[in-house]
Amino acid sequence: MVPNDRKYTKEHEWVLLEDGVATIGVTDFAASELGDIVFVEMPEVGDEVNIEETVGSIESVKAVEDLFVPVTGEVVEINEDIDATPELVNSEPFDGGWLFKVKMNDEAEMDKLMDAAAYGEILGG
């Protein structure tokens, strides 16, 4: 089961909103599908990003996947631990392996995302 304190995208990313700031990561399903992650190309702090824009990439030994931003706003922080220990994305996708934070322009965008139950159905189907 995935945590139900946050929202999900069909690209298997999660978004956790706290005080107007969205923390973004990938789900355990995405991490497992990619296999051992060895590098994450991140956006930069200060970047203005738009919903569903490609802002980076996630590289595993075997494959590369685009990193999407599921909300609009300004990047205010990136997870500095990922550079040295990208395996955190595999081992702790929902907490220590978070990727970056966006100060949202419009919190209503959260309503477009799936809740844990809806995302669970995607995984089940």
């Binding site: 051992d36 030994v61 075997k62 590369v64 595999n90």
Partner: protein, 382 residues
């Protein structure tokens, strides 16, 4: 292609029921990974791993004309191929492009085995048939009857010696040099024990009847538990071969790449008696200057250059990446690339989805193979 249309090896169901992630590979349902590619890679470098490579093609050639006929189709010489000897080869078209790379076993003077890549199996069978009939040469494709288990890693010899079937062959296994093999009568028919592999480690490839595959696999896992043995997927097979710079067909080799460009000149014997298909084209290429070569690249920036990424010098296209990944042993982003032979001076980079990542050439290979060394020898990573 749905999984129901895929060919199975005798071990496919075993893999699927023991946690492997299964994928389509060359028409077979194969395990791409078990625990994870980094962990599996380390097991083979440090201990011993098992690979199901039953998808490989096995074609027997028999008869009094076998030796000369095979020789005319391959780049390397069979002059020193006494029974038990193995030779690595390319099979070329007349224009020098590579149809496949393969092992050629001399089992007896009039009984030979060609082992080709699964993805090229149908093409190679067709090519061989096209070059028949010839008096004194018979061909027998046994691909669907022969399983193949690779046992690779520093303690692989000890593990293979523990197999009940090979209990009385311990001395023969000790005496088996790199690129030699012996046959043995197993429970379900003939086994072939071969000191070969695709990992750069000391290792063996066991050819055995389908009927013996599951029992052999399970016995290796049970008897190797104290040695740290584990099943390994195809993803780690690729990273292992990549680090020691073994060519992979479809990457460093192809119909549009000659063996001279791929850097396997040591397997091309231009002067051998009788010649071979493609010789004239390769000779001309050597005399006129080989236009491209495979080089080893190390990336100086973050990112991974994968197959087909362009290689640039001061922004000018000079070739492309044939294989690239993160090296689990060296912990660096590395790539093999097919580039112009005479690279212009300037800033070398790879184009990774529009981002130019600086890189530099490094010595071949990235990591030295330990296939001929004492199996317990320490590897220098310097």
């Amino acid at each position: 292609m749905s999984k129901s249309n895929l060919k199975k090896t005798p071990l496919t169901d075993w893999h699927a029921s023991h946690g492997a992630r299964m994928v389509e590979f060359a028409g077979y349902e194969m395990p791409v990974q078990y625990e994870g590619v980094l962990a599996e890679h380390a097991i083979v470098r440090e201990k011993v791993g098992l690979f199901d490579i039953t998808h490989m093609g096995e074609i027997y050639i028999t008869g009094s004309g076998a030796r000369d006929w095979i020789s005319g189709l391959i780049t390397n010489s069979l002059k020193k191929s006494d029974p038990g000897k193995i030779v690595y080869n390319a099979m070329c078209k007349a224009d020098g492009g590579v149809l496949d790379d393969m092992l050629v076993y001399c089992l007896e003077e009039e009984r030979w085995l060609i082992v080709c890549n699964a993805a090229n199996h149908a093409k190679i069978v067709g090519w061989l048939e096209k070059n028949l009939p010839v008096d004194g040469v018979a061909m027998d494709d046994q691909t669907d009857n022969i399983a193949m288990i690779a046992v690779q890693g520093p303690v692989s010899r000890e593990l293979v010696q523990r197999l009940d079937t090979l209990a009385d062959r311990a001395d023969d296994i000790d005496g088996l040099d790199f690129y030699t093999a012996f046959t043995h009568e197993g429970p379900g028919g003939e086994w072939l024990v071969s000191r070969t592999g695709y990992t750069g480690e000391h290792g063996y490839e066991l050819y055995l009847p389908y009927a013996d595959a599951v029992s052999c696999w399970e016995e290796l896992l049970a008897k190797g538990a104290d040695l740290g043995v584990a099943p390994i997927g195809l993803a780690a097979r690729d990273t292992l071969r990549f680090e020691v710079c073994y060519c992979l067909y479809g990457h460093e080799l192809g119909e549009d790449i000659t063996p001279l460009e791929a850097g396997i000149n040591w397997a091309v014997k231009m002067k051998k008696k009788g010649g071979f298909i493609g010789r004239d084209a390769l000779l001309a290429q050597r005399e006129n200057g080989v236009p491209r070569q495979i080089v080893c690249l190390e990336l100086d920036g973050k990112g991974i250059a994968r197959q087909d990424a362009r290689v640039l010098v001061d922004g000018k296209d000079v070739g492309y990446v044939t294989s690239g990944t993160f090296s689990p042993t060296l912990k660096k982003a590395l790539a093999l690339a097919l580039v112009e032979k005479e690279l212009p001076q300037g800033e070398l980079a790879v184009d990774v989805r529009g981002r130019h990542i600086p890189c530099h050439t490094v010595a071949f290979p990235f990591l030295a193979a330990r296939t001929k060394d004492d199996p317990k020898a320490e590897r220098s990573l310097s």
